[in-house]
Every structure is written in C-alpha cells, then in structure tokens.
C-alpha cells in the first residue's frame, strides 16, 4: 500500500535547479534541445545552459508574444524548444500564440512556466500565475504538467524530450519538500497515488501535494483514512482516477495554488458531476477566488486557505466530523 510520508520539517527545494540540470543533461545528448527566453536567463535558471550552449539559447528580450511564436518556428524547423519565462507573462501575455501557434498548430513547443502560482509573493497579482490552469485547460491538444517536486520536474523534462508534443510545465520556485523518489517517472495523463485511503480523497497538485500528505497524516491520527492523489498531469485528465475516487471513497477535496474558476477542482467536479446516481460524492474545492493582497507566498497560501490545516478542516467538514 502506498503511503508517502513527508516530515513537516523536511528540507525544501526550488524545482528550478532540477529543471536546469535535467535540461542541460538532455541537451548534451540531444542537439535538438534548445531554450528560448525573455530577458529571463537568470530567473529561468538558464545561466549554465547558456554558458555550455551559447548558440542554443535564444533570448528574444522582453517580447513574450514573439518568444512563443519563435518557439513554434523552432519546433517547425525540427528542434525541441523549451520556452522559459515567468508563468504570468508566458501564459497571459502570449495566450493567443499558445492557442494558435502551439496547441492548434500542434507545434511541439515545451512551455515552461517558471515561478508559477504565487511564488512571486509580494510582487503581486500581475506576477502571480494562478490563471494558467483555467486558460490552458481550455486548449485542446496541450498537455499540462504540474510536478510536485524536483524529481517530478526532471521527469516532466525527460518526457518532453522523449515524446515531444505541445506541453506546458509548471516549474516551481516556492520551496517544497520531496514527495517522490529520485529518478521517479511520470506517466502521461495519470495522477500519482501518493497515499491510499478509503474515507475520502484529496486531489492536490504542485505545492499542495506535500500539504495534502501532511493533512492525510493528521487525519489518520483521528481515524480518518484519506487517499491522496497527486495531479501531476491536469491535461490529459486522469478521469479514471477521479471516478475511482468518487466510487470508492466518500468525498473529494481538491487543493491547487490557482484560481478555482476552471482549475483542477473544476476539472474534477465536471467528471464527478456526470457520474451515475450514488457515485456523485460531495466536494470541497480549495484555491484562489480573488486577486491576492500584498504578502509573501507562505502568507498568501495561508490567506487563501491552502495549508495542511485548512485541508484537514475541509475533510472534517465534508465528512461531518467537525
């Protein structure tokens, strides 16, 4: 039985380091791997990549629409472009390029949303990337990968090179503990079972996965058995895992560092809501509902009810154990 244990004081890491190291390792053996960025060599952790492959880093300057178009052109020419920029500018600014040039044209561009969610804390809503799930889930033919730690970030990069296709990867900067083994793989379109359980299911993504595991551990101490699913892929969506969760456990809670309008919770709800009578379980959807006030990432995760305690409280509420 799967039970991932993450100590509450476990060391935490910035996933951008694993991202950069894996990208460089793959670039050494595959000369089609190139990177594209927007004056973000440092913030996208591409300094070492540039030093080793100066010709294979295309820095277009502060021009994100051009950046995504250039990425599509590179893919069209036969390369495997990793287009790296802070999440909000990559997805928000270039949304139509992502729609027309990447998803609709099916150019195999790997869009890397750096420092997503509320990683930029005090820099505020313009710099938060919390709408990316909603925006990009609406684009058919675009994979959405949300690694929960460094090892999963490496797996996402490996998948992109082994099987290039239009893909968006959230590359986290807010430090998170390891929730998986080194060298773990990610199966396309599958949630990862992080913990088995039978009373309810917590479906969490990215930064929320370790928090969901902490919540499950504290619920276990109260006699509540919580299944934890790590939604490492949002698209394609693991509908089977969602249906099993609804049929086998009594409730579903989702947790995402994203706006709830059209995000993970909405995706899960649209599957659950269409299930047969008797299988439609109650849900709680945890995430953002308004633009963030000023505050650090940790402060804002607390502000929006995205801590382990909030997840446990939602579980008790939905199971009427409060």
């Amino acid at each position: 039985m799967t039970t991932t244990t993450v100590l509450t004081d476990a060391p935490t890491f910035d996933n951008r380091q694993d991202f950069a190291d894996e990208l460089i390792a793959l670039a050494r053996t595959n000369d089609k791997v190139v990177a594209v960025c927007n004056d973000s060599v440092g913030s996208s952790n591409l300094t070492k990549f540039r030093d080793e492959f100066p010709d294979r880093l295309i820095n277009v300057g502060i021009a994100e629409q051009n950046m995504v178009g250039v990425g599509a052109g590179l893919a069209n020419a036969g390369l495997i472009p990793f287009v790296c920029a802070a999440g909000p500018f990559l997805t928000g600014r270039s949304l139509e390029q992502i729609k027309a040039d990447v998803a609709y044209s099916q150019h195999n561009v790997i869009l890397c949303g750096m420092s997503p969610g509320m990683a930029y804390g005090e820099l505020g809503p313009t710099h938060h990337s919390v709408e990316d799930f909603s925006w990009l889930r609406a684009l058919p033919g675009l994979d959405i990968v949300v690694p929960a730690d460094g090892a999963q970030t490496r797996a996402a990069v490996r998948n992109a090179v082994a099987d290039p296709r239009p893909t968006y990867i959230r590359v986290g900067r807010f430090k998170v503990p390891h929730v998986s083994e080194d060298n773990v793989g990610l199966e396309r379109g599958k949630f990862v079972v992080a913990r088995e359980g039978s009373d309810l299911t917590i479906i969490a993504t990215g930064t929320e996965v370790s928090r969901a595991l902490w919540a499950a551990a504290s619920l276990a101490a109260e006699g509540v058995s919580a299944r934890v699913l790590n939604a490492a892929y949002l698209s394609p969506l693991d509908e089977d895992a969602i249906k099993d969760a609804a049929r086998q456990t009594g409730a579903i809670i989702t947790a995402e560092e994203a706006n709830v309008a059209g995000g993970l919770g909405a995706a899960v709800a649209s599957v659950v809501g269409q299930l047969e009578d008797g299988a439609r379980v109650p849900m709680r959807i945890l995430g953002l509902k308004h633009f963030a006030p000023t505050g650090s990432t940790a402060f804002l995760l607390d502000h929006f009810g995205l801590t382990a305690d909030h997840i446990s409280a939602a579980a008790r509420e939905v199971l009427h154990r409060d």
């Binding site: 004056d39 973000s40 060599v41 440092g42 913030s43 820095n59 277009v60 300057g61 502060i62 021009a63 994100e64 629409q65 051009n66 909000p88 500018f89 928000g92 600014r93 930029y120 005090e122 820099l123 505020g124 313009t126 710099h127 006030p293 000023t294 505050g295 650090s296 402060f299």
Partner: protein
C-alpha cells in the same frame, strides 16, 4: 484606498511654487534636494522590505521629481479630478520610486511607506490604482502603460479637458511589441497631449539592452513612428523641464531620457546585478551617506 495627507500636500504646493518661481539654478537645487530625499526613502523601503528594484528606481527618480514638482497639474487631495494631468509609470517594477514620489506630494502619508510590501499593505511590489491614490493604472507586466496612456490621451481630447498625459517606460520595456502598436495609434491620432518618456539606462533585467535585443537607433525609430523626439540628459532638471514642454509639431512627444541605472550611489550605478539586488546593512549605510 489610502487618503491624502493635507499638510504634506500643502508643503508640496509651496515647494512647487518656489520651484516654478525660482531661477534655473535655484530650481535645480530644490529639485535635487527633493530627488535625493525620494531616493533615501526608496533605499529605506527596499532595505526594510528586503525586496525591490533599486536600479530602475534611482534612474527614474529625477524624472518623477520633475514631473510632480515642476510640470504636472495634479491635486493630491482630489486625485481623480477629471481635468488632471495623468501620470502612468509603465515600468511598474519601480513602484518604490512612484510610491515615494506620491507620498512626498501628499497623495498619502509618508509614514505609509514603512509598509512597503508588508502583509496586506496597499503598497504592493507593483502599483495598484484600487488602493493607492495617484496611481492611474495597474502596471507590472511590461508594455501596458503606453497603450493605456494613448487611450487616456484620446479620452482627454474627447472630453476637451486640456489634460496632458505622461508615461514612463523602461528601455528594455520598449522591446514589447504593444508599445509600437500604441505609438502607431498615438501619431495616427495626433495626440499632441501625450508625452512618452523612455528611461534610457541601457540596462534591462539580465544584461545591457544592446546585447539583448538592441533598440538603437531609438531616436530614429521613434521618429519613424511619427513622434516628436527629444533626447535629454535624464538627470538634468532644467533640461528635463524643457523636454516636458508641450508638442510643437502637433505630434505626440517622445523624450529619450539618457539615465544611469542606480543613479546616485557609486556601487549601484550602471551595474546589471542591481536591477533587483537588495543592499546589505553596510551598503545601505554607505548609500545613505552618498545620497545625503
């Protein structure tokens, strides 16, 4: 929403009058004193918050000082009056410079600057017009301010309010295509009430502009887009005041303000890493001395 500080606004009004009445040397001296005080506030804000964009704040400080203390017609106690002149800081990462200038003008109490980037503060890392009077539009993503300025200038003409519109962009920011779309419509619409100021410090986040995605010849490019182009030393107060004078050709004005990123502090000036580096305790002390 923060509210005005009446006594600060009164002090600003009398200072502004002295600046306008003074001879060029007096004017420059007074504006320099103001700008250095603004830089000291910015330094304290960034040092306390442990975050901020000091390089771009210091390059734009003299421009902001000239606009608010010698050029624009604004009323800190009636920040949204319809016939005001409008100021938009498109390079929103330099919010620290804007907040400090607005506070010294009386739009809100100077003491509020102590909350810069603190939890639930109105003074976010990027300016928010919903919370901070004097902020005309929310910026932060580069390449937004100029289009909004164009719309504001068209609106002022429709309303015949006589308002002028000033917008400051970064030079790296001019790599965004949206700016050039906006310049095309500004000249097409003959917006002689619009002044676009490019803070030409030749540095962007990760490198020099000309090593990243070169802008030169920026003057010729702006002229080709129909602007009345003025090139000026962005730290010379009297030259800046003159450059802000209304259009003489009926076209919108573009001011290329040649500046030094980090202006005023020796170890910050013209160094790319000071885009958003935060000074240590000792560096803060030294910077204070250099700015006093």
């Amino acid at each position: 929403m923060l509210t005005a500080d009446a006594s600060q606004a009164a002090a600003w009004r009398s200072l502004r009058q002295e600046v306008l009445d003074g001879d060029p040397a007096t004017r420059a001296a007074k504006l320099h004193e103001r700008a250095q005080a603004t830089r000291r506030s910015i330094l304290k804000m960034i040092s306390d918050a442990g975050q901020g964009h000091i390089g771009g704040d210091f390059s734009v400080t003299d421009i902001l000082t000239v606009l608010f203390d010698a050029v624009m017609d604004v009323d800190p106690e009636d920040p949204r009056k319809e016939d005001r002149d409008h100021f938009i800081l498109s390079k929103g990462h330099c919010a620290g410079a804007l907040y400090s200038t607005l506070a010294h003008t009386g739009f809100f109490p100077v003491s509020e600057l102590d909350t810069f980037m603190a939890p639930l503060s109105a003074l976010n890392g990027h300016p928010n017009r919903v919370k901070v009077p004097g902020v005309e539009t929310n910026t932060g993503p580069l390449g937004h301010g100029l289009p909004v300025a164009v719309g504001t200038a068209i609106g002022a003409k429709l309303l015949k309010s006589g308002s002028r519109v000033f917008v400051v962009t970064g030079d790296g920011e001019m790599q965004e295509g949206s700016n050039w779309e906006a310049l095309m419509s500004a000249s097409h619409q003959k917006l002689d009430n619009l002044t676009v100021i490019v803070d030409r410090n030749r540095l962007q986040q990760g490198a020099r502009t000309e090593e990243t995605n070169g802008l030169d010849p920026l003057d010729a490019r702006l002229a080709a887009f129909g602007m009345e182009v003025r090139v000026v030393d962005g730290h010379n107060y009297n030259d800046l005041i003159e450059a802000m004078s209304p259009s003489t050709t009926g076209s919108p004005v573009a001011v290329i303000a040649n500046t030094i990123k980090g202006k005023g502090v020796s170890f910050i000036e013209d160094r790319v890493e000071w885009h958003h580096k935060v000074p240590s305790k000792e560096q803060t002390l030294q910077a204070f001395q250099e700015l006093s």
